[in-house]
Subunit: 129 residues, 2 copies
């Protein structure tokens, strides 16, 4: 666990946003001005393999990262790309799981279900109208 890796983890955990590698690069650089973007990419992958952070399986051309590894879903704005958390009540998590299992079991086996809701966020929707 190098200084670089530690600080990347620390900064990611502080954020409620779901930053891209380069968002995080900008933040981490304030504390480690010489760090390289490649190091940020490498460490994010490693931290995710270690189970300390989560690589989001989310639409959009840039990958996003989440310091909160508890079970939750995401809402993603198709216009500005902002990603917000959706925490379900436990009972609803179960409901949702069994809901989709009805459709899925025959075709595919799955380990994990990710639900991504997308649409226009409040801000973008307001600008639009």
């Amino acid at each position: 666990m190098t200084k670089q890796r530690e600080i990347i983890l620390e900064e990611l955990r502080k954020l409620k946003t779901h930053p891209t590698a380069s968002d995080l690069y900008d933040i981490v650089r304030k504390r480690l001005p010489k760090i390289s973007l490649g190091t940020v990419y490498r460490n994010l992958e490693i931290l995710a393999e270690m189970g300390l952070i989560k690589k989001l399986e989310i639409a959009g051309k840039e990958k996003r990262w989440d310091g909160d590894i508890s079970k939750h879903y995401h809402f993603r704005c198709v216009k500005c790309g902002k990603v917000e958390d959706i925490f379900l009540k436990d009972e609803d998590l179960e409901k949702l799981d069994s809901f989709f299992k009805n459709y899925i079991n025959d075709n595919v086996k799955f380990e994990e279900m990710n639900v991504e809701i997308s649409g226009l966020c409040k801000d973008c929707n307001t600008i639009n109208n």
Copy 2:
């Protein structure tokens, strides 16, 4: 509506897979050997704006396209990237909508809800074990 645009649309509609631009480029080139990849990209965007096809808001580094514009969701294999359709019964579409509206209304306004389930598909799951 040029020959190129017409053939791209025609070929996309034939497919149940959810091809990337370059998948489609390979297919279309059999009929139009001189077509360029840029033309495929340009026309896919245009056809989506026209509402004739759908640009999938789906994870993964490559964009995917769907010739079926009816309401349905997708399952995406995190290993091989394959995307399969999930068609819900009408009653279930409604259930799901209201289910998530409970969580979403306060935070965001949305036009459209896309649900993407991801996990391991049957094939990848079999290889894994």
